[in-house]
């Protein structure tokens, strides 16, 4: 047997890394096709209204342009997600600022700027709603003028895209249990928590190039769209509807993608359809790339949210019961909001044992560009509320945040709030112990308390404990029915064919590691096919932290299948050398013309999920984590800074330590931005700071040292015992940081982003913040939360 170092768990060089460091990787804007034209979008200047007229400035020679309106769409005027409420181009009414109305194409990119300005659109304006509360109020008051979304036969009611009602047990029994819990509680603690929208800010903006091919009679024969994206088959699906074409006539190619984070999950369906419409109209390939201002103003962001908690607790610090109400702002169309809301709902109770819990969740419509998928997908929102609330409960009942959590953690064998038994080992106690030790938490807690007495810089430590489900919710993976191929090419090298995309997270690398490890071949010998839907099968979208675990497992199974095949058919020896493998594979190819193993998803264990009751096995697996933040708040400038960050997680076996660390650090950095830097300013539904100059993401000078720690516990679900990792690091930083700020200043802030002006406003709203020291501030006077009765009886 040729013994080789294990490939999984090593850190081989990123597959496409060389091209990237050379500057040779070709992103969409680096590509052009012969006779290519450029496209631009004419967008709505108002938030809501009907289009009265569209006129074209006489100063422009419109003959030179291709113009596409809603009426030119050959199929359905819809971008399909879950409901068909989202038009490809607004026909009569607009529902958010920057809504696409008209498309223009021209051979000269520079001619488009004046042309876009040369289209005058007049509207009859209608009143809009711009916050969750305004949207709710319209429903409560039955204010028909402000019912901006009518409901749909695919679900949803006026102004509300989706609701969930999730109980920790039978509905009636849980309600009764909750009633008793609140009656018997020693403490009832309430709180309200808000999170803002967050801009994706991938450094490469959205962009695509589309081609439209005609048949002999001039009809549309087929389409080809290439671009920056996560989910090529989503775009295939979108095109089939917009053009009324079968799937095999809609070819989509993902090219090198410069960051995505969820922002290129569903949005490419829109820009891809737009470019294809222009290509149809002008008969040339058409490229649309947004500039930064357009990308920020018009594309999807993280859903703003509001989470309300009401919790019954015993005086020995046990959770007796709780109600959690989550509301997210979905923007003007349903898009993916129901799914984002689902993840927010399932993650809302966190890693705790609740004897009785009820989660009510809703996604409201507003006249804002639709919010969409963004790393974490609803979980960062509801976990922010939960982990701030846990600190609040601890403070109210007089326990430390640590001790209170310890008394309520889920453990192996317990059931989650959806009734899923935790069969695989879970050790939140151990994770907490280690995370606090790694961060020097206890020592700092004592030291900062002492130093803060005499310093105008208040320092503090805080943490958050949480989990993130990996893969699609419930029966989602079964429905996706993902397929992967493993081929051996003419040159004898194995090639992985999947629709899973690389956009920096390391898909190409880890899937190659899995194949190399399983086939017992060198990592370098594995090839990953370009993601072109005319060659790769649908292995599902590249979202939901599912690629490593779900698709990785399929690649592992395909590799095993290939070995078995070659052992049976070509007498490949048990302990083969790479040369023997190649010889056997080529011999097989010579006989059969090709060598392909294809594998479909099968749940590795029994997965039971009830979509009606929202109960059962919510996710195949969970990653568990405790994140610790250290902060400093300068009481002169009101600037809060994160000064050190420790992220400990259990994500199964780590497949590639360098990539894994990079994923966690990148997520933590986005989380720190979410908490302390990144604020979307809105005016009547329009993002006002849609530039990198005034929307501030952390630079290299802003971030603290981020220490990443792993606890490795093999999982049965992923290849080599791995679980998903991509979204987890987005969940913990914001609550950990705000918990640390409360520890530092004694004041509870419950809204993110938290910028210096927010801290300033809060402190100056107290008559004299220096009087008696800010540590003495009573949480009962906290403006952000409503404590009706912090203590019912003691």
């Amino acid at each position: 047997m040729s013994e080789r170092k294990p490939i999984l768990g090593g850190s081989p060089i990123r597959k496409e890394g060389r091209a990237k460091v050379l500057g040779a990787a070709k992103y969409i804007d680096d590509q052009e096709l012969p006779d290519m034209w450029f496209g631009a979008t004419v967008r709505s200047s108002i938030a809501r209204g009907t289009i009265r007229s569209i006129t074209f400035s006489p100063e422009i020679n419109w003959e030179e342009f291709a113009i596409v309106r809603a009426s030119d769409i050959p199929g359905e005027n819809t971008i399909v997600h879950l409901t068909k409420d989202h038009p490809c181009l607004a026909a009569n009414e607009v529902n958010h600022p920057e809504e696409p109305i008209l498309l223009l194409a021209h051979p000269d990119k520079t001619a488009l700027i004046a042309a876009v300005r040369g289209v005058k659109i007049e509207y009859d304006e209608l009143p809009g709603v711009f916050t969750i509360e305004e949207s709710e109020t319209a429903v409560e008051n039955n204010d028909v003028e402000r019912i901006i979304w009518p409901g749909s036969d695919q679900g949803g009611t006026a102004n509300c895209f989706k609701t969930y009602l999730m109980y920790s047990g039978d509905a009636k029994e849980t309600e009764d249990g909750l009633a008793t819990a609140f009656e018997n509680a020693d403490f009832i603690v309430e709180g309200e928590y808000h999170t803002g929208a967050q801009e994706q800010l991938y450094i490469e903006n959205n962009g695509v190039i589309a081609e439209c091919f005609r048949d002999a009679t001039g009809g549309i024969e087929s389409l080809c769209v290439r671009g920056s994206m996560q989910c090529p088959y989503y775009l295939v699906h979108a095109l089939t509807l917009v053009f009324n074409l079968p799937e095999d006539k809609c070819r989509v190619i993902q090219v090198e993608t410069g960051g995505a984070f969820g922002g290129k999950e569903d949005f490419p369906s829109l820009i891809g359809s737009h470019a294809a419409l222009l290509a149809m109209k002008c008969g040339h390939p058409v490229k649309i790339t947004y500039d930064r201002a357009e990308d920020m103003a018009a594309t999807t962001k993280r859903h703003p949210s509001r989470t309300r908690h009401r919790t019954a607790v015993s005086k020995d610090g046990k959770l007796l019961g709780g109600t959690i109400d989550v509301a997210i702002d979905g923007g003007a169309y349903a898009t993916l909001s129901p799914v984002v809301l689902s993840r927010a709902t399932i993650h809302a109770p966190g890693p705790y044992k609740w004897p009785h819990v009820r989660v009510k969740a809703k996604a409201m419509a507003t006249n804002i560009p639709p919010h969409g998928a963004f790393r974490g997908f609803g979980a960062p929102q509801s976990l922010f509320g939960l982990e701030r609330h846990m600190d609040k409960i601890a403070k109210t009942i007089g326990l430390t945040p640590e001790e209170f959590r310890r008394r309520n953690f889920l453990a192996t064998g317990d059931c989650t709030a959806t009734g899923q038994p935790l069969v695989e080992p879970v050790d939140m106690q151990g994770l907490l112990t280690r995370a606090l030790r790694e961060a020097g938490y206890h020592e700092k807690l004592a030291r900062f308390a002492e130093e803060n007495k005499t310093s105008s810089i208040k320092r503090g430590v805080g943490f958050a404990s949480f989990m993130h489900g990996t893969g699609f919710t419930g029966s989602g993976e079964r429905r996706l029915n993902s397929l992967v191929y493993l081929d051996v090419r003419e040159d004898g090298r194995p090639e992985i064919l999947v629709s899973s995309t690389e956009f920096g997270q390391g898909t190409n690398t880890i899937l190659s590691q899995v194949a190399a490890q399983t086939l017992n071949l060198p990592y370098e010998s594995i090839v990953v096919s370009p993601v072109d839907t005319s060659i790769v099968p649908n292995s599902g979208p590249t979202v939901a932290s599912r690629t490593a675990m779900i698709v990785g497992k399929l690649v592992e199974r395909a590799s095993l299948q290939m070995l078995t095949l070659l052992r049976n058919e070509e007498k490949l020896p048990e302990a083969h050398t790479p040369e023997e493998f190649k010889a056997a594979a080529l011999a097989y190819r010579a006989k059969h013309g090709s060598l392909r193993c294809s594998v479909r998803y099968e749940p590795p264990a029994k997965i039971y999920w009830d979509d009606e009751l929202y109960r059962g096995d919510a996710y195949p697996g969970y990653a568990w984590a405790v994140y610790v933040a250290e902060v400093a708040v300068d009481m002169n400038t009101y600037m809060a800074t994160c000064t050190r960050f420790d992220a400990l997680q259990e994500v199964g076996m780590v497949m590639h330590p360098v990539l894994a660390k990079g994923q966690i650090e990148g997520g933590v950095a986005q989380g720190i931005g979410y908490a302390l830097y990144e604020k979307c300013m809105w005016k009547d539904g329009r993002m006002m700071n849609n530039q990198m100059t005034n929307y501030i993401m952390p630079t290299s000078a802003d971030l603290p040292p981020i220490h990443v720690h792993f606890e490795e516990v093999p999982s049965i679900h992923g290849p080599g015992g791995a679980k998903g990792i991509g979204e987890l690091p987005m969940d913990g930083p914001a609550p950990a940081i705000l918990n640390a700020i409360e520890n530092a200043t004694g004041v509870a802030f419950n809204t993110i982003p938290l910028l210096p002006e927010d801290i300033f406003e809060r402190f100056t709203s107290f008559t004299d913040p220096e009087l008696g020291g800010t540590e003495d501030m009573d949480p009962a006077v906290d403006r952000d939360t409503r404590v009706e009765s912090a203590e019912v009886s003691a």
């Binding site: 990237k20 460091v21 990787a25 960051g259 971030l703």
Partner: protein, 160 residues
Amino acid sequence: MSVIQFSVNGKRESIDVPPMKRLLDVLREDLHLTGTKEGCGEGECGACAILFDGELVNSCLVPALQANGARLCTIEGVSTEGHLHPIQQCFLEKGGAQCGICTPGMILATHHLLDKYPNPTMAQIQEGLAGNLCRCTGYMRIFESVQQAAQQANELTAKS
């Protein structure tokens, strides 16, 4: 239009372009050097960073005219005949590139930083790269890449 002459990656170029055309577009469109990226077009992200007479500049802010007579270096000029520069090798090994869109600018910023401070402190690295935004990495792997590149360069000079 005006004729502008400069050198890019050691090669002399003479092109006829509108004088106010952005140097970034001249590089990408006229010279097909697409390794230089556009992230914002307003001098904020550093994706378009190049070396201009040895200084790090954002090429999206420079009108072509200004490059007349200048010596430019883009990412394509960092490697030699397909051999990675040690900085590139370190980015590759240490995970300094994820999606890779910020990487060309980041590598040129590192180049510039190490010219100025062959032994940079962490604060100098953080400061030196603060004009280059990266949304993927959280910068930690990039810092390690820079440190390793500095260390290797110093070992080399010590030997010679």
